[in-house]
Subunit: 126 residues, 2 copies
């Protein structure tokens, strides 16, 4: 798999809520950075960040608007969607991924607006 295929497979597992499967594709020291929130490290960091969220959601969807790749860097423009019951929260995101020479993802960094996320989650939960 090339870098783009690895990232696509990783994302497919995340939205399927298969965090263990997703983390098979990441390096032990992966940097997972939600820019306005801060960064965590490693598969444990990813699971600690996404686990509680994924458990509370009925459905997760990443709508891909655009994706570009050069060498080992993949970037995408997405709308990340989270469903509880019949309500959806939508978050516009731009993501950056880097894949190491061993085919494991070493960087996942998402750019978004924190207030937009807060407002969307409040409406989802309210």
């Amino acid at each position: 798999m090339n870098a783009e295929e690895i990232v696509n497979t990783f994302i497919a597992r995340v939205v399927a809520k298969d965090l263990d499967g997703a983390c098979e594709l990441v390096a032990a020291d992966i940097e997972y950075d939600n820019v306005p929130m801060g960064k965590v490290e490693g598969p444990e960091g990813i699971k600690a960040t996404l686990g509680p969220m994924v458990e509370g959601l009925d459905e997760v969807e990443f709508v891909m608007l655009r994706q570009t790749a050069t060498g080992n860097v993949v970037m995408n423009e997405r709308v990340d969607r989270f469903r509880i019951g019949d309500r959806w929260a939508d978050l516009p995101v731009a993501g950056v991924f880097e894949v190491g020479p061993d085919g494991l993802i070493t960087l996942w960094r998402d750019y978004f607006d924190q207030q937009t996320l807060n407002d969307q989650l409040a409406a989802l939960l309210g």
Copy 2:
């Protein structure tokens, strides 16, 4: 010039505060979207948005961290920096650009955190 070269030239002109020159590279109906702030259209929209900012700044710098391109889409990860006197404001940004078949940029969309921009500008101006 390919899409990436066109975007690089456009950005070089923006940071040189040459908005007229930059706008020679954009389509008449370009969408310029600062995601948390909203979108404007056309060269007039770009000049109305960036003109007052550029005039009040002593220096503008876009530090490129990563750039990827696939076909007519270019994405980059940047730190946009704005200087007044000896103070700098730094804004982490992920940008999306699309280039039309005539070589003119039809989309410039930047993802960032609005509160980070507000805090940085307050510190710059304070």
